[in-house]
Assembly symmetry: C2
Homo-oligomer: 201 residues x 2
């Protein structure tokens, strides 16, 4: 096994990373209270993508953590969560976007948001913005009211240095962000760090 | 305004229906306790589809009902719920599929499930199975535990004759099922009825 050099996703941006089967993607919140939207596609056929609906259905749970599998739309395991310091993530909301900022925040500067940043990072793989699905929103804390279904985005529970480790179960191209939405990171736009533990080499 | 003849979706199948802007799709549960998975695509460009993540985010609520908008992945309103007798639907789970039956129920007969039935109904529009997203699961009752996130599929709250009316906000091709998953309909596989109130004609 070898470990890639630690990479930094600068605030309000995204990076793509290729993973082989068995590689472990490690996502670190270096300063605490930051969210990283994670999406993934099968490298062999990018029509196969990480599916929140399949993953939640098979776990019968909204909140996924160590031991849980993240499935593709074709019901094949894409990731296994093998370590999770934080324990609370979201898998229901689409990445923030230009429209999110306008509709929810009344902001009209046209910032691309995580959606635009993910599409930019995935452009070399010919994956356009229409194909950015609901992300696995790492460290995102969304409280749910069981009676009304009301959702409340709270500051993440992640502390400085908290990490999550996800083992790839097939060859993937993944992309991850340092989130651009103020509500998600307590209005402090911070970086996200990541590395890959390579199964081969 | 004119009203189409009432159509029946036979048990464990799906139908596609074209809607113009202003048309109202009426989905009826004729016998009670049945679920209908609804998906929709913009007729002008089917890369634009009904998005659970966008809709839930903008409503800040998991459970949508009268007055709520259902958004596309491009953050444009596709439907407005204008009447809702039942009041409880799900928008987190992907349609049941051959794999669902195998993974959750241990069933190996290879029934296509709502996913396969929706893809079959949408084949004339060149929309394949990989593009069937999380559906608006009409009448589906999924209870959520706010602490653990645990999901429990319960029998629908819909009584015989309960209906939901959705006004199309753009030209759409929609598809809807009579659900094939036992857990969703209390293990009684029933039909679903629908009609369209046409804005023009």
């Amino acid at each position: 096994m070898s470990i890639d050099a630690l990479q930094r996703v600068p605030p309000c941006s995204a990076r793509a990373v290729e993973l082989d089967e068995g590689d472990v993607l490690v996502i670190v919140d270096p300063e605490g209270e930051q969210v990283s939207d994670l999406v993934a596609f099968a490298r062999d056929d990018t029509r196969e993508y990480l599916s929140s609906g399949r993953s939640i259905d098979y776990a019968s749970r909204l909140f996924l953590t160590t031991g849980d599998l993240l499935y593709s739309n074709r019901s094949r395991p894409m990731f296994e969560i093998i370590e999770d310091d934080c324990g609370r993530h979201d898998f229901t909301l689409t990445p923030c976007s230009k429209d999110t900022f306008e509709i929810i925040y009344g902001e009209t500067e046209g910032r691309p948001g995580c959606e635009g940043n993910l599409a930019h990072a995935l452009a070399p793989y010919d994956i356009g913005v229409d194909r950015i699905p609901i992300a696995f929103n790492v460290f995102m804390h969304v409280a749910v009211d069981a009676d009304t279904g009301r959702l409340e985005v709270r500051p993440p529970r992640s502390k400085p240095g908290d990490r999550i480790r996800l083992r790839a179960r097939m060859p993937l191209v993944a992309a991850l962000t340092a989130c651009s939405a103020g509500q998600s990171n307590n209005f402090r736009y911070k970086p996200i760090d990541y590395t890959v533990e390579r199964a081969a080499g």
